[in-house]
Structures are given as structure tokens and as C-alpha cells.
Symmetry: C2
Subunit: 204 residues, 2 copies
Amino acid sequence: MAKRSLPKHVGFIPDGNRRWAASRGLSKEQGYGFGIEPGLVLFEMCRSLGIPEVSVYCFTQDNTKRPSLQIQAFRSACVTFAEEIARQGAALLVVGDETSSQFPPELRPFRTRQGGGMRVNLLVNYGWEWDLDGLRQGSIRSHEVSRLDLIVRWGGGRRLSGFLPVQSVYADFYVVEDYWPDFRPEHLEQALGWFKDQDQTLGG
Amino acid sequence: MAKRSLPKHVGFIPDGNRRWAASRGLSKEQGYGFGIEPGLVLFEMCRSLGIPEVSVYCFTQDNTKRPSLQIQAFRSACVTFAEEIARQGAALLVVGDETSSQFPPELRPFRTRQGGGMRVNLLVNYGWEWDLDGLRQGSIRSHEVSRLDLIVRWGGGRRLSGFLPVQSVYADFYVVEDYWPDFRPEHLEQALGWFKDQDQTLGG
């Protein structure tokens, strides 16, 4: 069976911000701000490696049921990150329900992809049902997002939690036990090394 | 966060039959027959434990692109298994495209659930696109299959390979390195033990 080289599209689930904060004696919402800088390092790594497309699970419609201090914190971290990578030339697309008040107005222009560099898809106020419900009108709402080859999740959880169900059908799933704010470049290196050793059969 | 007890619905991906056969000097298609008996042991274990519902990935529309000897072998193994658990009183539902010649005619009666014991859903000539395409007419085609709590995959693969994308959104994913025909009861015991230690947040 064919061995692979670099994935064409990697999904990232940066989980564990709240647990990280609690483990340091901080309040839960303080964890999100510490996730921005690791995201920028990861973005730069992917760009240097030549990965053509990445998707990041920022927050979901379900997440907006949390306490308002947390919502403010992850929304703000998300906007800061998005604006910074747009400034750095990412071809940014934001995927999520922009008709809701939970959608940050600053990100509305990015519901259409902007820019010409590495494709970065940020899931913002995203919901898997919202996404699939698009099929009733013809196609999933994330139809501009390509199929995922590899998904990397931080924080030890071994589940997708609603992350792009259609694009995830054949993705290899790599779990990092560390919480997201403890991101280190080796996490991505190890995930990519592991990915190369996986067989790819696509059911054939 | 709440700790769980027994999952209400477990999905099984019994992968590795061909690799198991090759490792024993058998031809690839001979592996499938060795998967039937482990399946019956697993079925009995789940029933004894009181798990209310299980789903098994038998074969997909993509799998039917394989050499015809292999297709015959997995179809035959699948029918033998289905008929035996029906005989043993499972509430059997077969989910898959029955309009195709690849669908075993013997299983057609089970496209409607039969029987009143543990619910067992067998994915037979199943395809994730076939399933989701049902949304265009109102609901997914696997709408009678409930949400999965836990998915156990044999054969080391860390991917869903198109297994029930809607029901899998919040499922915990447990991987057994052994090939499916090398199934041992400890595999399920370890998966259930691990499952109990996972947090359940459902995004909240």
C-alpha cells in the first residue's frame, strides 16, 4: 500500500485551554489568550513546510452555551488570531453561522476567502448540523473546505466533537496529550512523521 | 465533568482481516471467514454486559471495488454473521444501499428492523455519501441508528473510513492494534474501561 508524504490538508483541534488555565491556578477563561501565540507559531510552521491548506476548530455553536466570560475570551482570541494571520497573508476563509449574534462581526468579510497564500479555514460559530443542513439546499455549507488528510487534536480527547464530519471521513487522527497552550513544534513534527507511516486505502 | 459508565451505543470497525490472512500465508480473501466467530463472541459479550445498541462496519460501497474473490468472501461472511445473530434474537437492522446488486438479497428483510433483543445495526454496502444524501429528501438514510458513544477499531487504523459520520460526531475513538481475527475479550474490556475515564462535555 502507498506510503504518503506531506498531508495536503491538516485539521487542528486546539483543545485544553481551560484545563491548562485551571492547572496553573488561573480562571478558565484566561486560558484562551495563551492559545494565540502557539497558533501563530503553528501557522508559520505549516507555511514553511508547504502544507497547502489547514483548518482550525475555533469555536462552535455549542461552545456558545458556556459562561459569558468564557465566550468573550474565546471570541476575542479567535478574532485576534484571524486578523493576524490575514495580515501575514493567509488565504483566510471563516466557516460558521454568520447570521447569529455569536458570530464576531469583524470576521464577516472572511466568509468569502480573502488573500492568496496558504489556505486557512477557521471554524467560527460552526456547527456540524448547520454544516450538513446545507445539503437540503444543495451542498454542505463548508463546501469550500477540501477533504482532510490528517487531524491533530491537543488535550488528550479522542473524538472529533463535530469537527467537519464530511471532510473527516478518511482523515488520520493524531492525539497530543498536552493541552493546547503547551504546544511545541515537536507535536506537529511527530504528527507528520506518524502520518507518513500510515497506509492509505480509501476503502479500496 | 461527568464520568460515564457503560456506553449506550458502541460502533465496531473490525479491520485487518486481509493483513491477518497475509501474515499467516493465506490468501487475502481467506481472512474474512475468520472474522465471523470473533463477531459472535463480541455480540454475546455486549449482550451479557447490557449494551443496548451496537453497530458493525461490515462492508462499504467502496469495498466493492476490490477483487471479486474478496467481495464474495466478505459478503458471505457478512450474511452468515447476520443470519446467526438474527437467529440468536438480535433486533437486527441492516443499513446500506439495497438497490445495488452488491447488496446481498438474503439481508433485504432486515432493511426494516426485525426482532426485539439488543439492537444490532450492520452496515452492508454502506456509503457515507449515500447516507448523507438522504438529507436532500429530508433525513439521513441511517436515521434509525442512534448517536454513538464509543467506536472501537481493530487493525491499528486511526480513522473512521466513512463510518456513520453523523452518529460519530461525539464518539470516543478507541484503537486496538491487533487485527480483527485476533479479537480477544480483553479488547472490549479495555475499551470500556478507557471509555469510563473519558470526560463528556458535548461542547458545553
